[in-house]
């Protein structure tokens, strides 16, 4: 549905995005993850057909973003980083105007409006001036604007910024709901957001894609082993030796006197064995969990030149042995 090849955009001498290649299938949700200024917005604006690229190919729904911008603009809904709102209009007036310029036939505008207002629960503010709405409502009106013509492709630039946690969850649920019937690209610098809504994550840093995969595989590629965290009330002094004797255990580290990090062979879930082992010996099992590498770890690893000083999260220190090369394409 969306196809980008070797896309480069320079502003004068500054390269905003550099040789970016990715594609999104119909109905998928792709998250662009990167720090501010990484090139997320530039890429999205090129996809909307409003910003010409310096070189490369960008296609949306089979239409070229440079040669057929009108066709592209018809099939996309775009929410820029700051929602483009006419503050002196009421919500309904604004959405009618957007529907008109998006080419919704006049007789279908009332039903399109009702639909999008219901979807975003805007009914109660229908007649209010946009200027007087709260930040959360403004953001929702912005989303309504992107959805009013029911576009096949949605491009959302940081759709949850400035919202409270409840609203963030609502917007994420909405995005999940829209996935499948719509192809969605969204950008974020908030990692859990990418995890929560996207099928695939593209990590972009200084205009280059540094990693592109599903969230699970992205973290899987960064680790060569599974890790299990263990907290015990009464560990014996020779615990490291004892645990190491369990088949499949590669190594045991101890964070402090009671907490241990056990590295096991990839693909083997030893939690059951470990639990039985510990309970039989009455070491006082307090906690046993699989330590998964978080997207935060992946992200920081990939976007920071220098290795991380100190542990950011359980397991991250050990993982930093994995080099960025592993995920470089």
């Amino acid at each position: 549905m969306i196809h980008v090849e070797h896309l480069t955009k320079r502003y004068g001498p500054k390269t905003a995005i550099d040789d970016v290649t990715f594609s999104v299938d119909k109905g998928q949700v792709l998250a662009f993850l990167g720090p501010n200024g990484a090139g997320k917005t530039t890429t999205m604006r090129i996809l909307t057909g409003s910003l010409p690229a310096t070189s490369g190919i960008a296609r949306v729904a089979g239409f070229d973003c440079f040669d057929q911008p009108m066709e592209v603009k018809r099939v996309i809904g775009y929410l820029p980083e700051s929602p483009p709102l006419y503050t002196e209009m009421t919500v309904a007036e604004y959405l009618v105007f957007v529907a008109r310029i998006k080419g919704v036939p006049a007789e279908q505008i009332p039903s399109a409006l009702d639909q999008v207002m219901q979807r975003l629960t805007l009914g109660e503010v229908r007649g209010r001036l946009i200027a007087n709405l709260s930040r959360g409502f403004k953001q929702r009106v912005g989303l309504a604007q992107a959805l009013v013509h029911n576009p096949a492709v949605l491009i959302l630039d940081e759709p949850t910024t400035g919202l409270d946690p409840k609203q963030i969850i609502e917007i994420r649920e909405l995005i999940r709901e829209l996935a499948g019937s719509h192809t969605i690209i969204l950008s974020t610098h908030i990692l859990p957001e990418a995890t929560a809504v996207a099928d695939r994550v593209v990590i972009i840093h200084e205009g280059r894609i540094v990693a592109e995969d599903s969230q699970e595989r992205l973290s899987a590629r960064l680790r060569r082993s599974e890790k299990v965290g263990l907290t015990l009330k009464a560990p014996p002094s020779d615990i490291v030796e004892q645990l190491s004797s369990i088949p499949g255990v590669l190594s045991v580290h101890s964070d402090d006197a009671n907490r241990f990090l056990i590295e096991v062979e990839l693909g083997r879930d030893l939690r059951d064995d470990l639990a039985r082992f510990v309970v039989e010996r009455q070491w006082g099992l307090l906690e046993l969990k699989l330590v998964t590498i978080t997207l935060e770890d992946v992200f920081l690893r990939l976007t920071q030149e220098e290795p991380l000083p100190g542990p950011a999260a359980p397991g991250s220190q050990q993982d930093s042995e994995a080099t960025a090369e592993e995920v470089h394409r």
Binding site: S50, K73, I76, Y78, P80, P84, F97, V98, A106
Partner: protein
């Protein structure tokens, strides 16, 4: 609805929801009313004096003595008032970042520019329609020749069109409305002064060109009641050129 129609309707709505259109129209009409009333007062005083001294009423041509100066003054008032109508049009879209909405919608830049121009022109034309009240009131007490009044109104409409389209260029250049309006005043005054500069340079091709570039001579002809295709071509070219420039300005901003 066509994309241009949607833009026109939105702009008209904005004009009449905000106080801008009312304030501009109010000031415009007040000044024009005074500019029509004061010459009439002067003429009636003179006539009374002549009646007292010579015993007969002079034969006054109100077209000549009242309306022609009124239209010339109207041009000066327009110079001050029309840029206020256009200063918002593009500058605000950029300030509010709504330009991005327009540019990512299936609208061409031409649709945007033409839609905005038409809306501003309609507001200006309706303001102008209200000034006809003064002329009609005058017709009730005097014999007026209507043909030169009609051509003068055509002249005002065309001159207004030029001012509006130049104002649109200025509005496209900035996202600050104050800069936009000051820029329009400056640009309009400069092309206004071309006429004077042309006269000073004298009867050389360059002097003639300068005079031709200023709208004043062309406007004067229409106020006098002369319809010359040369003048009509001037106005049409000036409006289209300014709109084209606006298009180029917006197009170049897309790349940044």
């Amino acid at each position: 609805m066509s994309p241009v129609g949607a833009v026109v309707r939105k702009e008209l709505r904005t004009y009449f929801v905000s106080p801008i259109a009312y304030v501009v129209a109010g000031v415009f009409l007040l000044l024009l009313g005074l500019l029509l009333f004061l010459p009439i007062l002067a003429i009636s005083n003179q006539s009374l004096q002549m009646l007292r001294m010579q015993g007969n009423l002079p034969d006054v041509n109100l077209n000549q003595l009242v309306l022609r100066p009124a239209f010339a003054n109207m041009a000066v008032v327009m110079l001050l008032v029309v840029p206020i109508l256009t200063m918002r049009l593009l500058a605000e879209e950029k300030k509010l970042k709504t330009m991005e909405l327009l540019l990512t919608s299936p609208l061409t830049i031409t649709d945007i520019v033409v839609g905005k121009f038409i809306a501003a022109f309609l507001v200006f034309a309706s303001m102008l329609a209200l000034t006809a009240l003064g002329t009609v009131a005058l017709a009730a007490i005097a014999d007026l020749r209507w043909a030169p009044i009609a051509t003068a109104y055509l002249g005002v409409l065309l001159l207004g069109g030029v001012f509006l389209s130049v104002g649109l260029v200025a509005s496209g250049l900035t996202e600050n409305q104050v800069i936009s309006v000051v820029l329009s005043f400056g640009l309009l005054l400069v092309i206004w002064l071309f006429d004077w500069a042309g006269q000073l340079i004298g009867d050389s091709p360059f002097g003639k060109l300068m005079s031709y570039l200023s709208p004043i001579g062309h406007f004067d002809n229409l106020v006098k009641g002369l319809i010359d295709s040369k003048d009509l071509i001037y106005f049409a070219t000036a409006i289209i050129l300014s709109l084209f420039l606006t298009h180029r300005v917006l197009e170049s901003q897309r790349w940044r």
